[in-house]
Amino acid sequence: MTADAAFAVQAQVAAAQPQGLARAVGEPILVVENVSLAFGGVKALQDVSFDVREREIRAIIGPNGAGKSSMLNVLNGVYHPQAGTIRLRVGEGWREFHDMDPHEAARLGIARTFQNIALFKGMTVLDNIMTGRNLKMRASFVEQALWLPRARREEYEHRRAVEEIIDFLEIQHIRKTPVGRLPYGLQKRVELARALAAEPRILLLDEPMAGMNLEEKQDMCRFILDVNEQFGTTIVLIEHDMGVVMDISDRVVVLDYGRKIGDGTPEEIRRNQAVIDAYLGVSH
């Protein structure tokens, strides 16, 4: 399928979706088509298709073991699916992938956070966030060793950008603390900061609110919505807290045993019988 044809198909899909979302959601930016992933005999994902539109908050939900994290890992190239394609809008055209490579995904503007925090424990908060900007640095290691003007300038310029993110996420007071010493909730926030430092187009969040108390959840929700509104970042998130999902997401994909069983606005998902069955069980 050519890129134009793909675009036409997606435009139809988009037209078929209900209109009137809260924010200025645009055209599809990421399309997953018939993706299947298996580990030996375990089928983690079977024939899953969905799309993500620009500037929307797209939630992926499902019971434990439904394949949600696997889906995110496919999207940024940690896992390689056996079948299916991923299409990503790059500039005016589309790029089609059978599988991504993490490095390639990062270069194309996909950033993510992990379910069980994947920060660099031995480094300070500031250094952790600075690593998020590694793709934007140009000076060679020789220039850095000799502290030549370009290397120096880059350090200061990127520090400025990182400080803005630090301000945005309200973590000024811990910028020089090694992340290993921080409480869980703050670590989650630092991980979000590191992902944001790359100025991603698409942000993948794997259970950003897991294990948090109510107050921390509220803060995190606020940050996610602010990122979405102020930076126009497209967000794909996995979350178990239904209240949060229904409140902040524009559209929801529901997975169960690796299959997609529902896709639509929170209101539609709430009424979807297959979803209710998957969550509450069915009497036979």
Partner: protein
């Protein structure tokens, strides 16, 4: 009360990101360097310079090299002495075969040869980690010594396998006294330590630490794992290679491959473990501990047996020294597993608050 940063406000990121952001630290390091460059050569005896300070500086450089690889990039290596041997013998051969080459260029080229070998022996790190990688780098150690002993070209076909390092001549000046060699070593080590610090506080250093702490996350944010690991091996081996060249030219003079045995690799590894893994300062503290403490113990035991008039047999004395040395290593590792550099840091934090408890 002296060590306070009150009133020192940093108003730019450049000021905040200096190597020593606190004024007292800058003064202290300037004084230390001035002392090392001007006072030490004037007052230290030949024995002190030749047998203590020069090897201390050279081994600090080797420890720094290993620390870049093991402490910062998290790749365990037992091939340090092998890379040093490459540096020593290649510097000798560059001087021998291209006599017009300035000696510092020979040192740098020898370091680059070690770096190239480091990249080759770093390739297994793309697949294996931890102890298994250490065993793979052990192969480098044995391979290098084997080649140096078997291939005559490296030792200029000398029958005993021993080489004599050439004279050090820079801009027509011959560095042959202990003072001059000390100053040359100190200058090279100080500059390379500064370069290492710069590297570790910028993007390359952060990429090393990211790969060390969690390689999956590092690749997801776009750090190329393979390139980063090989770069760590290359830079580390470069440092070890230059240290090896200095070891031959400024310290030993006549060198045989056996001088770079596995024993030396282990000593350098102990230096970074005791000094502090992942710390520039730790490399120096560790090297000082391992090279200077036995001498200090020797002096103390000599003084004690002299003062009390006890005639302890010499063999006993040296064994007791070894026992105390070993006990001290164990003691420090238990008190502070992160090494002397961490103790130093804790001390500084306490000093900033003193006399208040917190």
């Amino acid at each position: 009360m002296l060590y306070r940063e009150a009133g020192q406000f940093r108003t730019s990121y450049a000021e905040d990101q200096r190597i020593f952001p606190i004024r007292q630290d800058r003064v202290a390091i300037a004084l230390l360097l001035a002392f090392a460059f001007f006072v030490v050569p004037a007052v230290a005896s030949h024995y002190w310079l030749k047998a203590l300070l020069i090897p201390f500086l050279i081994l600090s450089l080797a420890a720094l090299g290993l620390n870049i690889l093991t402490g910062y990039a998290g790749q365990l290596s037992l091939g340090t002495a092998g890379f040093m041997a490459v540096g020593a013998f290649m510097a000798y051969n560059f001087e021998l075969r291209l006599p017009e080459l300035p000696i510092l260029v020979s040192f740098a080229l020898a370091g680059l040869c070690a770096a190239a070998l480091g990249i080759v022996f770093g390739l297994p790190s793309l697949r294996i980690k931890g102890f298994y990688l250490a065993v793979a780098t052990l192969a480098c150690q044995f391979f290098v010594l084997w080649v140096l002993q078997r291939v005559g070209w490296f030792t200029n076909y000398s029958s005993s396998g021993v080489i004599s390092a050439q004279e050090i001549v820079i801009l027509g000046h011959t560095f042959d006294s202990a003072q001059e060699k000390y100053l040359l070593t100190l200058a090279i080590v100080a500059l390379m330590a500064l370069a290492a610090k710069n590297l570790m506080r910028s993007e390359t250093g952060r990429a090393f630490m990211a790969v060390r702490d969690m390689d999956v996350a590092a690749s997801v944010i776009g750090i190329p794992i393979m390139r980063t690991k090989l770069l760590a091996f290359a830079i580390s081996s470069f440092y070890c290679g230059v240290a090896g060249a200095l070891y031959a030219f400024c310290y030993l003079g006549t060198v045989e491959p056996e001088a770079f045995s596995l024993d030396l690799s282990f000593r350098v590894l102990f230096m970074i473990i005791i000094g502090g893994v992942g710390s520039i300062l730790g490399s120096f503290l560790g090297a000082a501990f391992i090279t200077l403490l036995p001498i200090f113990l020797n002096l103390v035991s000599g003084f004690l047996s002299h003062a009390f008039g006890v005639d302890v047999p010499h063999a006993w004395l040296s064994n007791i020294e070894l026992i105390i040395f070993g006990a001290l290593i164990v003691f420090f590792l238990i008190v502070e597993p992160h090494g002397l550099a961490r103790l130093w840091q804790i001390g500084k934090e306490k000093l900033r608050l003193w006399p208040f408890p917190h």
